[in-house]
Amino acid sequence: MQIKHEALETAATKMDKTLGVLRKELVSIRAGRANAQLLDGIMVDYYGTPTPINQVGNIAAPEPRLLTISLWDASILHEVEKAIQASDLGINPANDGKMIRLAFPEITGEKRQELVKLAKKKTEEAKVAIRAIRRDANEVFKKDKKASIVTEDDYEILEKEIQTLTDKKTKEAEEILAAKEKEILEI
């Protein structure tokens, strides 16, 4: 008889969430290339309601280093500019009365190395979180073995399965980092 443990399923879900957070964090590392996702999380005060910036206009990247925001309602142009300035994007917005332009400056080699370091740090944190999830699952398996809920053989299978899952998700994290590193170092 095979075995399926709830803790293993929970671990897989948690690991996926960790990778999702890593992806989000790496997207926010500005690699010089303009990307609409960089504006994710910036909220605009829309008639008193905090609204995500991508819901108040159309965001486009017509050039590799330029983002444009065409607002549905031009009357909130200054609110949007204020929100961008208040964010940690470090870009000064320009406007032509209807459209906001965000010009991303070319980043230096030194800055690129710094960004790579930051991306590596974020990935390492994700890997630590994945290992912590594995440890939690292993503790549940150990407890169940002690309580004779799972047999010795089942315990070994579960241990192997959680290790395989951990290796897979760690590799995924490394792949995410490799892609980001490539993007950062791309000139």
Binding site: M1, Q2, I3, K4, H5, E6
Partner: protein
């Protein structure tokens, strides 16, 4: 799928599959808080994969004693 064993006792599901000479495998599901006094193993989910019926089974308490006796 030819069979619907959801909630059926494992022994009964096995009996029917054996009778019909159908290949099957059993996967035991262990939750975070399994019953230590479970008295019945029943089918939670079933799927047909690579020509084999896979039964996911869990343990339940079916002899419930109520305050009314």
């Amino acid at each position: 799928m030819k069979y619907d064993f959801l909630g059926v006792e494992l022994k009964e599901a096995e009996r029917i599959l054996k009778r019909d000479k159908q290949p099957y495998s059993i996967v035991r599901y262990v939750s975070y808080r399994p019953y230590t006094d479970a008295d019945s193993t029943r089918v939670l989910r079933m799927r047909f994969r690579n020509g084999i019926y896979e039964l996911l089974v869990g343990e339940f308490i079916t002899n419930v004693r109520t305050s009314q006796g």
